[in-house]
Subunit: 220 residues, 2 copies
DNA sequence: TAGATTGTTAATCGATTAACAATC
DNA sequence: TAGATTGTTAATCGATTAACAATC
């Protein structure tokens, strides 16, 4: 069975990419437990998707399995890291050093997956020049210079909604490649900049919606 | 045009419910700007979806518009709140008062949308009994008693991945209706408990994936 | 070899978009 | 009234699942 990736990169459903991360997490767990081989059946069962889904998702990127045997964890794991781009370390800027920003800075999950927060920015004079978790906070005016200087490719945005677009514009102008946005705002970005956004209140509202719907269904 | 909701609750796509929250946000903004009327066309253009999508999404829940006129913001806004369940205040428990938990506790976006964090829990003896933002931290053993006592329906989980399932089990046993999970763990929950989960590292990995894909496309 | 499981094509399912009669 | 826009049905598009020949 061929071991090389696809030359024709068909359009990949976003949901498939998200599942790839989950497969990787589970493979890492299996590896820690000393398991060396798995199958689309086993992976799917563990993560609540069908075996066909697993094979289809992997199939977007190449042929990684062995018919009759399944997948070798030691082989598939680095392939998934390569596909997801986490086979290298990323330099990340953190803009907005408030409660959420500080929590994100301290969050171990980012560094554990190769994301290094190497520069902090804030607009508040009270914060600029201070050190947070060993990193100096710079003024947002310095974004452009430092993003280039430190080879920063990704930015995490945890500023107030009103400030988000202006900061995003600076980041884009500085040549950032992707923005992870926590501000409750719709950002207008050029197509070249990748974009992932989380609106915490909106997500909690989704929970409220589902609970409410079920209460109405059962109560009536 | 009829003004009443559907009696037959067809299955609602999850993506549609998420857009509902966005429509509501935008209507609130329009209202602040003194706008009184809008249309599916205008709403869709502002949020990057088609007018047909907007009408279809609203159509799952009833008839709220006026042909030829559009939607009256003063009417549609409370309807959306009612649909999403944010026309009432929710009592929320916060379990795990670490960096992220504390940031979530201070986050103004939750209370602004009617979510009141009314009880804090942690397993650490160093934290139990302390006050954080004016709220006493209770031991996780007290979850069951306090969830019932304070009429808590939702819980935010910001505990380490290893602890998540055990805490979730306690919450379910205490009769919680929905869990908003930040722990990087797959939770096994009964069907009756609603569930929204955010894995921060996984989301950042999605950003890395998109950036990597584009670099490979353009670089080769 | 016989059994198991892959990769991939075809069939199904669900969500989005287009079209249009109804109507403000 | 004429113009605009809804609610809804039908058409399209995309993603998931099933099926199965290839093959370890």
């Amino acid at each position: 069975m061929a071991k090389r990736e696809k030359s024709q990169p068909t359009v990949i459903p976003r949901a498939a990419a998200s599942r790839l991360s989950r497969y990787l997490r589970y493979l890492e767990e299996l590896d820690r437990n000393g398991v060396t081989t798995t199958s689309s059946q086993a992976l799917g069962a563990a993560l609540g998707v069908t075996a066909a889904q697993v094979r289809k998702d992997l199939g977007y990127f190449g042929q990684f399995g062995y018919p009759g045997l399944g997948y070798k964890i030691a082989q598939l794991t680095p392939e998934l890291r390569r596909i997801l781009g986490t086979d290298k370390a990323w330099n990340v800027a953190l803009v907005g050093i408030g409660n959420l920003g500080t929590a994100l800075l301290r969050y171990k999950g980012f560094s554990a997956h190769g994301f290094r927060i190497v520069a902090l920015f804030d607009a508040s004079p009270a914060l600029v020049g201070k050190r947070v978790e060993g990193n100096e906070v710079h003024h947002v005016d310095e974004i452009s210079a430092r993003v280039r200087e430190c080879n920063i490719e990704l930015a995490v945005l945890s500023v107030p909604g009103e400030a988000a677009q202006a900061v995003a514009d600076r980041l884009v102008e500085a040549g950032i490649r992707g923005i992870f946005n926590f501000a409750p705002a719709l950002l207008n970005l050029t197509q070249e900049v990748a974009y992932v956004s989380i609106d915490l209140a909106l997500e909690l509202e989704q929970l409220s919606f589902v609970v409410t719907q079920r209460e109405r269904e059962s109560g009536l």
